[in-house]
Symmetry: C2
Subunit: 240 residues, 2 copies
């Protein structure tokens, strides 16, 4: 892991860009020197780690005492893509914008993306846990489908917060009963891109004995600010 830039924010959080082989990443760590539990934070559907909403969440969680890391995994964010991957991504965007049935195109785009992304996140996890001042157990926050995949592969992930969950590839819907760690599923009640009943069915399907659902009125981008703090409190119960 090679750090290529760093920035100290007003609240003491240190924000560092790194590369790990071909994987670009960002690590946010709290100002204090005490060892911090790690949260892996992934944006839905492979959106870039530099997206402003993800960066804002990561900075606030770091200010609250967590080490937070995000990467652009293979096929995600600004990583180079094959012509096939570009086509699938464009089809997906078109279908979502047009409000067309997106199940098939979603399956053909997001299904492989999750499978390809998971190994990069595990590589990053190895490297992150080898850094001084970053401890386990590890939390995961964000993209539901990737989180399900990682939770089934990665015993070091002790708790996970998932967002939305209306569209999840078939493979991950089938893996949901294998997920046994404490979960917080956050959904927007009127999410235009995530059918509510599917998200409720997914919540029902998880194998965890400790799972909590938070739903708020409003559309996909309307999550109220206090849910970020609730997420930190959830991780506080399981990672500290």
């Amino acid at each position: 892991m090679r750090f290529i830039s760093e920035q100290r924010l007003d609240d003491g959080v240190l924000e560092r860009e790194f590369t790990l082989g071909e994987i670009p990443g960002t690590l946010w760590t709290p100002g204090s020197a005490a060892p911090a539990p790690l949260i892996l934070m992934a944006h839905n559907n492979g959106l870039p780690k530099s997206a402003s909403r993800l960066v804002a969440r990561a900075r606030l969680s770091a200010a609250a005492g967590y080490a937070v890391a995000s990467i652009d995994a293979r096929g995600c964010g600004d990583r180079p893509r094959s012509a096939d991957e570009e086509r699938a991504r464009a089809d997906f965007r078109r279908a979502m914008q047009a409000g067309d049935p997106a199940d098939e195109v979603f399956e053909s785009f997001i299904g492989p993306l999750v499978e390809k992304a998971a190994p990069d996140w595990r590589t990053a996890l190895d490297a992150l846990l080898a850094l001084p001042g970053i401890g386990g157990p590890v939390g995961y926050s964000g993209w539901t489908a990737l989180g399900i995949r990682l939770a089934t592969l990665e015993p070091r992930i002790a708790a996970a917060g998932f967002f939305a969950g209306g569209y999840v590839p078939r493979a991950q819907r089938e893996q949901a009963p294998q997920v046994a760690i404490p979960l917080l599923l956050l959904l927007q009640w009127d999410d235009e891109g995530n059918p509510r009943q599917r998200a409720l069915d997914l919540f029902d399907a998880f194998g965890s004995t400790e799972k909590t659902l938070h739903a708020n009125l409003g559309g996909h981008l309307g999550t109220p600010w206090f849910e970020r703090e609730d997420g930190d409190r959830f991780f506080g119960r399981h990672l500290r």
Copy 2:
């Protein structure tokens, strides 16, 4: 309002029994002298204010800085009941224990109970807000049906946390769209006495623009401890 006994608890909370005409009540206030926002706390379906789970919740919320009050309204708790009321209550208990369809007996028992209880809660609210050190705005916590009724009658109630909501009398289901204050609906995902879909439908029906649903795995009595703290945080956003 006449205080008839008082007890200072270890954490400084003052617990006082009072009577207000025929209404018996309990008031919990924090140890600090600062004015405290008031939470009216009602147990589901008219169960007594002395029930241990309600008392435990009230004491913890008082320790967190709220004034908390509960009463046995007319027909509720240990208040005297007519032979008809006793019969309806016994029928209801029998139906619930036998797992029989409880809608009709529920309607005939809880519907009138809500209507009779609401005026006593408003009388108590007048008296409580006249006490020194107790401020508005006012929160409501607990019994869903009574809370809906009070929210439609009582502009001083600024936010409400409801529990369960699977069985709610027809009148209150019809009033749900009139409820416009911020809400936190807490439900147990596998509540044996509260059909899940009805609770979700009720959440959907509320007229509030700010409403949050918290659901946790487990049966009626399995609400995790952290939800009480989440409730205090919800009231903290709206009453302070």
